[in-house]
Subunit: 482 residues, 2 copies
């Protein structure tokens, strides 16, 4: 295969597959047309045809990487996805299930019998099984547990004991451990006997008799150092290891900083529990950032592109209902000032601007704070300076943008008092917005909660309400004849 072609193969295949499947569907149609003829004969023909296509699909899938198959399945509508899934061999199914998104995995698993799932699970390692566990039906999971040997069951239970955001939940057991009194030669012949190293093995872990990690031996040192040397003389003792209960976000930052490929995972006594590899970290970073983006847009969780309308609706209603409540709250504030609006209807046109600009300013501030918190850059020592800077900035922006708005409303309504109220309301609401945009993420972080979740909703609801209140309130004080 020509280099760089591989990358596009999956995309080409997706198109080809869609054609094959369209063909399959056409035959279904022809079938129902032909069905008027002798039914038994037709069923036979149809079965053969179907089988032919299944074979064609199977051949195509057999040469693909599980990740590419996953990509194809995710891009297929539900009915076509089912046809394609049936054509995938059992020995591949497990890997494919690992690669698809959570939402798509559920559509695939829901159509499988418990026995089928048990045989699929037979091809997976404990850490891979752990990734699937949450999506497997209880009955199937029990059967799978019974089918495991005791080492596998111990591994599986070890992983499942950790929370989703802990390093322990992401570890695997593909590590090679050695003792420091061995020679490099002995290790080389040990590896030669193994015949194959687990993927992402860039280092071996040196442990003592209690399984505590004493150092690491980078694989390349086996190649660059004399075979007669001992591990103790060659190993690296200043290395990064992760506690099982460490937050994965923190571990991912360590992978980024120190450009790690793999690292030992240890318990509180420094005893080796497993291994964390960069591929899991890449997946974690991608998932977390997708999640953050979707949360900003008010989508609760990852969605299967082709999930049923009802499922999607459920996923999006939560947020929309929250928004109804907050929108209604700000509406009631406008309701308080209806007589003011009746006396000066221009207020109705101008008030959404005050609310909207507050929301924008506050979101800018909160997003920068959320990001800096995620990078661990905000410390007790610098937080005061930061608050001071953001407030100064808000005062500056508020004055500047307030003046622009004042001039614009002057051009529209030729009412100097109205323009002054507009400018001042703008400035005050932008200050309020920045205070809120600073407070929510900082307070959520202080109390150990994810600062990204919900900040935007709460912020917008406050800046809307306050925007209306400040603007209409100032107007009723200064513009309306009592």
């Amino acid at each position: 295969m020509e280099p760089s072609d591989k990358l596009h193969t999956a995309q080409f295949l997706l198109h080809q597959l869609q054609e094959v499947i369209t063909l399959l569907e056409k035959q279904q149609l022809e079938k129902s047309l032909v069905e008027r003829g002798p039914a038994t004969k037709h069923a036979l023909v149809e079965a053969v045809l179907h089988k032919q296509h299944q074979t064609r699909l199977q051949e195509k899938f057999a040469v693909l990487h599980p990740a590419d198959i996953a990509y194809i399945l995710e891009s297929l509508p539900l009915d076509q996805r089912k046809t394609a899934w049936d054509a995938i061999k059992t020995n591949l199914e497990g890997q494919v299930l690992l690669e698809v998104s959570d939402a798509v995995r559920q559509t695939l698993i829901s159509g499988m019998a418990a026995e089928e799932l048990v045989s699929v699970a037979g091809n997976l390692d404990a850490d891979e099984l752990a990734d699937l566990a949450a999506d497997l039906p209880k009955r199937a999971m029990l059967k799978i547990l019974r089918s495991l040997n005791s080492a596998e069951r111990t591994h599986l239970n070890a992983i499942l004991a950790y929370q989703d955001n802990q390093v322990g939940a992401l570890m695997d057991f593909g590590m090679i451990t050695i003792r420091d009194d061995m020679t490099l030669k002995a290790i080389s012949s040990y590896i030669r006997k193994l015949g194959k190293l687990p993927s992402h093995t860039d280092k071996l872990f040196v442990v003592d008799q209690h399984n505590a990690v004493k150092g690491i031996l980078p694989l390349q040192r086996l190649l660059t150092h004399s075979p007669s040397q001992h591990v103790a003389d060659v190993m690296v003792t200043d290395f990064v290891a992760f506690q099982t209960d460490l937050d994965t976000a923190e571990a991912s930052r360590a992978f980024e900083r120190y450009d790690l490929i793999s690292a030992p995972v240890v318990d509180q006594d420094g005893k080796l529990q497993g291994r964390l590899c960069v591929d899991s970290i890449v997946d974690f970073i991608r998932e977390k950032s997708d999640e953050d983006l979707l949360i900003q847009a008010g989508v609760t969780e990852e969605e299967d592109l082709f999930s049923s309308v009802w499922k999607s609706a459920k996923n999006r209603w939560g947020w929309l209902l929250v928004n109804i409540v907050t929108a209604f709250a700000s509406t009631r504030i406008i309701g308080l000032f209806e007589d003011v609006i009746l006396q000066l209807v221009a207020l109705a046109s101008l008030m959404p601007i005050v609310a909207a600009m507050g929301g924008n300013t506050g979101n800018q501030t909160s997003m920068l704070i959320i990001r800096s918190l995620a990078l661990g850059q905000i410390t007790p020592a610098n937080v005061r300076r930061l608050i001071k800077k953001e407030l100064t900035l808000a005062a500056l922006n508020g004055t500047f943008i307030g003046l622009i708005m004042g001039v614009l409303s002057m051009l529209l309504y030729r009412d100097p008092a109205l323009s002054a109220v507009m400018s001042i309301a703008m400035l005050i609401n932008m200050l309020v917005a920045v205070i809120v945009g600073l407070s929510i993420p900082l307070l959520r972080h202080k109390y150990g909660k994810d600062p990204a979740v919900g900040t935007s909703v709460i912020l917008t609801s406050i800046t809307d309400s306050m925007g209306f209140f400040i603007f209409l309130g100032l107007a009723s004080l200064f513009l309306i004849a009592k």
Copy 2:
């Protein structure tokens, strides 16, 4: 060093450093108090004191990883950052500059003389220099170019020839190439002679006499196969390679899918140009996702937490000014209906809800589309189904939420006609929002533009204007006595 401690060292040090720096600042203060005494003597004392602290800082920094120093610098306000930066040794400065964010890098470079930058550059590889090139003053860059040998200059020019979003711009030259007629034994002794492999070397690249990549030799095969075998018999020929002009986003998806650590970068004839490694990809994914998040919030680019107020203001005004324009446009639509509002002031309270819910629904749709486009899941074959599904969903959500709003406004205003208008306006605006939320990213993608940029602004501006127009328009048609 105990495992897992390393991760926290930087944070501890940050606090310690801040104390040292506070001390330094206090001495500045004492200095000005003492200055009344004999000035020359004091200057001497002060210089000694300052030097002591510089030495203390230097010692601290010397044991840190450049990434940790970068983290500390990013968390320090500008004046303290300068003090700390002065205490970092020249041989570390280059690596630290590579690790800090773009915004912080500029604050560090701006205080350095051209000669200093040239000596810093002397410690960097061509691919690392390329990363800094955009931030270096022209005069320094010319001097640096002159100081390079011809191989380094060729490498640097090769990288700089590519656009930021192309694989060529991210490649390095730390690859080891071999021929397929060599024995594994010959390669092992070659590596032993080298003494050290470049970081992230998990495979060697097999090239022919024209430098075209024929295969890869995973490092572990050197350990698991017999030394007498030839590379041709052991190498992998089905491997992933990237064209220099490939979009980095596509390459990053390949790294995720195939769990790559390194891969060859080739030109159109398959000739080896460089190497792409997972550490660059991790940084790319992180930066891209941060950028996407900040863009959603209306921050143009990454911001130094402690940049001057003016710089930050400039970074945020662009978006705020765009928002003034769009907010004003929707205001003018309300202006058209001022007489309608005067006749039924409840409209002023209810109209922001119609606008806001449209914006929320549209953002949900557009964000899911943007994400699916980024994952390459949307194809000409499935886009119709997708549009149909989103529209059905909008109709369903619109009816449901429209009804809720109708009931709520009925409770508030006891006006069945007003409630009906509210429900219908809600439904129509949510349909409009979904159509816009689908169209903008799909069209931008079709014409080769980043679907994430600007979608949210344009969408909100349309859903606001349309929300006001539909609601007030329907009200003027059905609720107002002419």
